[in-house]
């Protein structure tokens, strides 16, 4: 029983990371109608930037060798890089692809993925890098009175979950309460209408992609801190796609819930169903789960229903 709860909690934590990545997807889709396949690559790119900057800053400016200062600066620099990426994407690609069909935009983001992968490795190298933001690595044991031996929870996971929750709350506030957030929602609904009331589309898109970049950076830092920054991060991030499907492409709460469901589902299925099928089912479980779910409810948990008007 304790094992079950540990697996459950582990799943929730993993799910939280998926949710963060999925969040980036949803943000960009809501505001520009683009399904950003490159979100995973952005996470890796951001994590690489952070890891390397944290390494390089003490080398460039020995006076800033203090790890906390170096990390904060590295974060700021990495964020700056992500904003630059957002601007480049908007100016060079998005503005010219605005009226294309979904599949063209999807292909463009796939191309962007390849580009970002190559660029990241060219600029920052392709080894495995560490990110050390001072997350405590030791586990904590809780509920010793209820279960024998207690339940093992990683403190790092707890902190990550806390950070993720704060991030989501901030984003939700941003969307609902600020004028920019309102503008973003207007653009997501109808580009042309938004333009006609004076909302500057390119600025909005730069903001959205920057925010998505920020989310990618946070996800990258959390994940990189736990697992080390390496190329496989990009592949794992692909897992966020079924999360988005499950939750609904246009829903932020959907991304959260979807991520948690997938995270838990994966862990539990691997332990309990995996052995029956030969193991290693984690690579497809999320997708098949999302698929089956789609057959029952095509728009996802929280997505908007699509009505065709003829």
């Amino acid at each position: 029983m304790a094992f079950f709860i540990e697996t459950l909690i582990g799943g929730l934590m993993a799910g939280m990371l998926y949710s963060l990545i999925a969040l980036g997807f949803v943000l960009i889709y809501k505001a520009s109608g683009v399904f950003n396949f490159a979100q995973g690559a952005m996470v890796l790119f951001a994590a690489l930037a952070m890891a390397r900057f944290a390494e390089w800053i003490p080398q460039w400016v020995p006076a800033l060798a203090n790890p906390i200062v170096a990390n904060v600066l590295a974060f700021a620099l990495a964020l700056g890089v992500m904003v630059l990426v957002a601007i480049a994407v908007e100016k060079l690609a998005l503005s010219r692809l605005v009226n294309q069909e979904g599949i063209t935009l999807l292909m463009a983001t796939l191309g962007f993925t390849y580009f970002l992968d190559g660029l990241g490795q060219t600029l920052f190298g392709n080894d495995i890098y560490k990110i050390d933001v001072g997350m405590p690595k030791d586990p904590v044991i809780v509920a010793e009175s209820l279960f024998q031996g207690g339940i093992l929870i990683s403190k790092e996971d707890l902190y990550s979950a806390l950070i993720a929750t704060v991030l989501v709350a901030l984003l939700a506030l941003f969307f609902q309460k600020t004028a920019t957030g309102r503008a973003l929602r207007a653009v997501a609904d109808d580009h042309q209408a938004a333009q006609s009331i004076g909302i500057p589309l390119s600025t909005i898109w730069i903001i959205v992609w920057s925010v998505a970049g920020f989310v990618a950076l946070v996800a990258g830092v959390i994940w990189g801190s736990k697992l080390g920054v390496q190329f496989s991060l990009s592949l794992v991030a692909l897992k966020a796609l079924p999360v988005v499907i499950l939750g609904g492409l246009t829903s932020i709460p959907g991304a959260i819930v979807g991520g948690l469901v997938i995270g838990v589902g994966e862990k539990l299925s691997e332990i309990y169903i995996g052995p029956m099928l030969g193991g290693g089912i984690e690579i497809w479980f999320a997708y098949v789960l999302a698929l089956l779910f789609l057959l029952v409810r095509p728009q996802g948990l929280f997505g908007e229903k699509i009505i065709d008007r003829v």
Binding site: G102, A108, F112, N126, W284, V310
Partner: protein, 354 residues
Amino acid sequence: MFYREAGQFKSTYRADQQILPIRQDRVAMALLLLTAFVIVPLTAPEYLLRAILVPFLILSLAALGLNILVGYCGQISLGTGAFMAVGAYAAYNAQARIEGLPLIVSLLLGGACATVVGVIFGVPSLRIRGLYLAVATLAAQFFVDWAALRLRFVTNGSESGSVSVSGLHVFGLPIESPASKYLLCLSFAVVFALLAKNLVRSGIGREWMAMRDMDVAAAVIGIRPVHAKLTAFAVSAFIVGVAGGLWGFVHLGAWEPAAFNIDRSFQLLFMVIIGGLGSISGGFLGAAFIVLLPIALERLPQLLHLPVSTAMSSHLTSMVFGVLIVFFLIVEPHGLARLWATAKEKLRLWPFPH
């Protein structure tokens, strides 16, 4: 100026409906086929045949299959690698378990198995579409990746999913030299291109295109969405499956599940997009572009005498690839086939601007 249709009038519907109604096109096609079947195998260097033309032909075939699903019927699929894998492993199993089964029969059986899998994973398209469907097809991709790795019966007992074949022959003739491999693939490509062209210009092709353009209206005309979508998945999967078998048997000789992974799916999708959605020749054009591009990118630093390490070179290839894809999509989203068609139209009026 090059108004090629001048003087060629059709007096029967049959003549009007030919695949190549203009005489000059027929002549050009005959020359092309002659060159491909006779001149190339006799004169081309082995490297060209083995490393460029054979993969080009097999990938063109796969792109052809994918184009039917994506370009003609409008159903996005990111799991093409999986169908290639099914075709390859099924053909392998047929060859390994049934004594003396002819190669072509094995390949076709591989295609048939891919068809079954394709239809199963096509069922979701009846309820979901667009990007949701794209992600659902990823389920097929990863599931088959896993099955080839873990399920013993798929790989006929092999531990890691790696299998190998040898001693191929067709009608008693050994398929070992690059020229023979090339001719085998060329034959498959030409035959399937013809069959596909027939399909897309008949009733079923129109059904597919109707589903792509406006499925609500299609239903009102009496087109069954289920029939249209599932036949598209079936035909597409069959062709892709045969291509997969060819890829494993003829091009690779020995393979493992990674040969058909998600990168392969993306590669094929790029071919179809760049070549031109909804165009039979588009598959060939896109495959040529994608096959030749990495080679060109590899050669370029050498030509410019820039010292570039292999790792760096592959990163740069990735980057240039990505940029070119985006560039292409901006400049001509309907692909090379459309560029070619536009060029032909401009040539009719040249030297006048309009």
